[in-house]
């Protein structure tokens, strides 16, 4: 499978402190990749940069055969104002943005697509409920329904299962696997190594730099995990300002 997203010497900084440091590599088309690593390893920064939400300070993200418009992004739960006054159905309809934009009407087929997406995440009959009245797990189901409606070839998930109950996690993981079977490229930031081993064929172990990247079984070894932790701790105490490629 050819590369879909190529990272070229990517450095992402906040206030000149590197979050991701000279990272190169590629996500293949149709791959299902977990991005794991210690806290502050730059996992979220990386997928924000790929999604075009944060500009890299050095290097670039190159798309082959897909544009940024083909990319559906699920932010961390904390990034969404849960008290926002909106109905479940309207949240799901936002998934049509790529086709409907700001002006085109959302009628007929688009509403049916939204209703069937809600059915697929097990939320039949929730259409008119306020988004804020749902539990954390149900809210995540709604956001996955929005991803279903968006129907993008490239899907990026930032900590999709944090604070989500185990049954919802299992249901949503089935959707992720379905996307993989359909040939979509999925990249997810995750914490649970067991979950990664079971469901994600490929893993990028990140500690600002790539510790290992490839088949999950080869990446998630004890040595690699220890190396990642050591690297991340070294970064914290050592020089914080990027001085170019080491």
């Amino acid at each position: 499978m050819p590369a879909l997203i190529e990272l070229r010497d990517l450095t992402i900084t906040y206030d000149r402190h590197p979050a991701v440091h000279h990272l190169s590599g590629q996500f293949r088309q149709g791959s299902l990749t977990a991005v794991v690593g210690p806290n502050g390893a730059g996992k979220s920064s990386l997928i924000k940069a790929v999604a075009g939400l944060h500009k890299p300070s050095q290097g670039e993200v190159v798309f082959h055969g897909a544009g940024p418009r083909d990319l559906a992004y699920l932010p961390q739960a904390a990034a969404i104002d849960e008290s926002f006054p909106i109905s479940v159905f309207d949240v799901v309809l936002m998934g049509h943005w790529r086709r409907a934009g700001a002006f085109r009407p959302m009628a007929g087929a688009m509403r049916e697509a939204a209703a069937s997406a809600l059915h697929n995440v097990g939320l039949d009959g929730f259409e008119h409920r306020p988004f804020g009245s749902l539990s954390a797990g149900q809210r995540q189901r709604v956001l996955f329904a929005r991803l279903l409606v968006a129907d993008c070839p490239l899907i990026m998930l930032d900590e999709p299962f944090t604070a989500v109950d185990s049954r919802t996690t299992a249901d949503l993981l089935r959707l992720v696997e379905r996307w993989h079977d359909e040939g979509r490229t999925v990249i997810a930031v995750l914490h649970d190594f067991e979950q990664v081993r079971r469901h994600f064929p490929e893993t990028l172990l990140l500690a600002r730099e790539a510790v290992a990247w490839g088949a999950t079984a080869k990446v998630l070894t004890t040595e690699n995990l220890l190396a990642a932790r050591a690297m991340s701790e070294a970064w914290d105490s050592e020089a914080d300002i990027c001085r170019g490629a080491a």
Binding site: D15, K48, A51, G52, L53, G67, P68, R69, L71, A72, Y73, L74, P75, A79, I80, D81, F84, P85, I86, S87, D90, V91, M94, W97, R98, G101, A102, F103, P130, R146, A150, C152, M156
Partner: protein, 291 residues
Amino acid sequence: MTVVYDWLIGPFADFSFMRRALVACLALSLGAGPVGVFLVLRRMSLIGDTMAHSVLPGAAVGFMVAGLSLPAMSLGGFVAGVVVALFSGLVTRFTPLKEDASFASFFLISLAIGVLLVSTHGSTVDLMHVLFGSILGVDDTSLLLMASVATLSLGAFAVIFRGLVAECFDPSFLRALGARGGVYHTVFLILVVLNMVSGFQALGTLMAVGLMMLPATAARFWAREVWSLIALATAVGLLSGYAGLVLSYQLNLPSGPAIVLVAGGFYLFSLLAGPRDGMLYLILRRRHLRS
């Protein structure tokens, strides 16, 4: 029956300045309703306040150039407001300073310039006029201005509504799909300034924010979707305008504060009795959970 008529309808039937004031309130509420609701949703409630103050130096320059001319003062105020919004936006974007802090910094500079200009080139009466407005002195020009701003605002909100709601709810999802969320924010800020300028002639820069924010915060305790919030906030604004004018006429009170205080009454009542997390509701629910 006649008592009711004398109280509620008489003032408007008898005096054209009361009718003008009422129409002015209607126009203001139509624009201020959606502006206030989105300010609350974007957690920018206090930014409305800062924008109101930043309009002052522009209005003062307009006054110095053309005297007590509404178009000149409005144009000046609009330019000053947009400049403050623009600089604050740039600072927020390119420095670690947060939006509220950068807005506060620029509005304070702007306000100081405004007070300086007014006190060296005008009289305190003029300053009072700009700060507190005079809805009973609304003339045809200002009425036309308010109606135009209301019309423009409603049209603009219709155009940007979907984008603005989607961008408020989850900006990252839209931006990842390549949508330009910043455009909606910019158009919205311009609408805030426009409505502020439109309100300052009638209510003054300080009170205009009241008619914007209080109906919106009151509506938050009743409605549960953006469109119903806007409808309700607009209705509360209209009612506050009418009731405030009646009270100000009958009890001989200054009209601006009377209108805003009625809106404040609506807010306090909603805070107490609103079914969406109002205080009585919360207390009753706690009792229910205990038993």
